[in-house]
């Protein structure tokens, strides 16, 4: 398991190849990259600052990954979350899950993202031409998190 909170950018291909190095049982890697998006519900976003709670953020990410590892048959997991100043289209977050079978990898990857979005102590502040604004939490993110709690089948949603 690799959990990193860092200001610097990351290279998805390097992370993925490290994830599956030396493990020939790994047949599937599902990954996710979140980018700074001009979500334009309002003024166009030009940049973003990401703040976090350093003593807590990596710890929460680790808890989330451990939950995923209990729930699905997965191998190694990498989570990288960036902080600090980011420009439009910059990479914010990376989650990669290695598994023998792809369905486990896909589910665990989305599970980790849904919990990261709603439980890990990171906060986004957007820069726009009209000034700065803190991003508001989205109800759909909380719905996504809840959907995992409702699912009775351990392997599906």
């Amino acid at each position: 398991m690799k959990i990193t909170v860092q200001e610097t950018d990351f290279d998805a291909a390097t992370e993925i190849s490290e994830l599956c190095a030396n493990n020939s049982r790994i047949g599937a890697i599902a990954s996710f990259i979140g980018l700074v998006r001009d979500n334009s519900d309002g003024d166009p976003v030009t940049a973003m600052t990401l703040e976090h709670y350093p003593a807590m953020s990596a710890r929460v990410l680790r808890d989330i990954v451990e939950q995923a590892m209990q729930r699905w048959q997965i191998g190694d997991v990498t989570v990288i979350h960036r902080t600090g100043k980011l420009a439009l289209c910059d990479q914010i977050v990376f989650v990669a899950v290695a598994a023998a079978h792809r369905h486990d990898a896909f589910l665990a990857c989305e599970f980790i993202m849904d919990f990261l979005k709603t439980a890990a102590p990171f906060w986004k502040k957007e820069q726009t031409a009209q000034g700065e604004r803190w991003v508001e939490p989205r109800a759909t993110d909380e719905d996504a998190r809840r959907s995992w709690l409702d699912s009775s089948d351990i392997s599906a949603r």
């Binding site: 703040e51 976090h52 914010i92 977050v93 979005k117 990171f122 906060w123 803190w134 508001e136």
Partner: protein
């Protein structure tokens, strides 16, 4: 007893501080919040009933009934928006 209290993101800006040390007589999250609200103005407003914020005790989310002991690190912050 003395505890460390941290504020993040919008609350850090509203309160104009990232961190302070507070002498607390009663050891619960609820008592700390009451003490902060009694400062009035932005404190009463931001931590008032129905406001959406989170409290962590030693980096674990906690509710108002959670106990606080000397040396604990309490963090108060808005709902998270990372990812």
């Amino acid at each position: 007893m003395n505890i460390k209290v941290l504020y993040f993101a919008r609350l850090r800006e509203e309160f104009g501080m990232a961190e302070e040390s507070i002498a607390l007589s009663e050891g619960t999250v609820g008592a700390l919040l009451e003490l902060l609200r009694n400062r009035g103005s932005v404190w009463a407003e931001q931590l008032g009933v129905g406001r959406n914020y989170r409290v962590a005790v030693n980096q674990v989310l906690a509710d108002a009934s959670a106990p606080i002991k000397a040396g604990d690190e309490i963090a108060i912050f808005p709902p998270v928006t990372g990812g």
